[in-house]
């Protein structure tokens, strides 16, 4: 009963952050700021659902000693670690590809990368 309450709470937090991630896709103006919303909010949201699953499988394993809950626990741990590594790598690759193909951050205070690219081209020319 209490377990269900806690897991439900964690899943609700996760749902909240994932919803914010979707909303940010519509509210933010350009590709970079959208990437902030999409990758970040879903990371935090997904982390909470991972925590919820970990808690659930751990308590069930401790209480009942069934092996399938331990297997679930291990799989979720591996899934969480892989998520934490692959998510920033993917976001970085997308952002770099976007900048290289000439999409500039639309409302931007400063763009140091663009300046660096320009000066490099001037040196080459």
């Amino acid at each position: 009963m209490i377990l269900g309450l806690f897991v439900g709470l964690l899943l609700l937090v996760s749902l909240f952050f994932n919803c914010l991630g979707v909303v940010s896709l519509y509210r933010f103006p350009d590709v970079y700021t959208r990437m902030h919303g999409a990758t970040k909010c879903s990371t935090f949201g997904t982390l909470f659902s991972v925590f919820g699953l970990l808690l659930y499988s751990f308590v069930r394993f401790m209480a009942e000693g069934e092996r399938r809950f331990l297997v679930l626990f291990i799989h979720v741990v591996i899934g969480g670690v892989v998520l934490l590594i692959s998510n920033p790598a993917g976001a970085h690759a997308l952002a770099r590809a976007a900048h290289r193909s000439g999409i500039l951050p639309e409302p931007a205070v400063v763009d140091a990368l663009e300046e660096a690219d320009k000066s490099k081209k001037e040196v080459a020319a």
Partner: protein, 160 residues
């Protein structure tokens, strides 16, 4: 070697469901060899060297992930969540030099920055200068503290 051990054990952990058979170990062995071949042909020599297995560094790494990194992640998530709702943004790309020498250290700092909401590593040039897209800039030449808090000091301690 590090890659082989990691992929071998991760495969076994994934396929483990209460009992272990010879077939699974064999498959794990061949798959790990394939992974090692791909990894070694596509990364710089020395990147996976065994010094990364130094237990003191692993201990520091774990302390970093569950200490300042988790706190920074939670704060930044909350901050970006508020920005999504209010729509108050001030974006731009800035550069800063964290002074990291090793590829592993650069990778760790870049991943930490990207994983933290509000900052995103767009590019790293050959000298290790980071170009970071931040969602809310206070000045056009921010200090390291503004961008990533204590992450830089920690990664310098862990991976130089």
């Amino acid at each position: 070697m590090f890659v082989f051990v990691m992929s071998f054990f991760v495969y076994l952990l994934l396929s483990w469901s209460g009992s272990m058979s010879v077939q699974e170990v064999t498959i794990a062995f061949f798959l790990s060899v394939a992974v090692v071949l791909v990894a070694s042909s596509s990364s710089r020599p020395g990147f996976w060297s065994l010094t990364k297995l130094d237990p003191r560094r692993w201990w520091l790494f774990l302390r970093y992930v569950f200490g300042p990194f988790a706190v920074g992640l939670a704060q930044a998530n909350w901050d970006v969540a508020k920005r999504v709702i209010t729509g108050e943004i001030n974006p731009g790309i800035v550069k800063f030099d964290p002074g990291l020498k090793t590829d592993m250290g650069r990778m760790m700092l870049a991943n930490s920055i990207t994983l933290t909401p509000g900052t995103l590593t767009v590019d790293i040039d050959d000298n290790g200068v980071f170009y970071i897209h931040a969602i809310n800039l206070t000045s056009s030449t921010p200090t390291e503290q503004d961008i990533c808090g204590s992450f830089g000091q920690w990664t310098r301690r862990i991976a130089g």
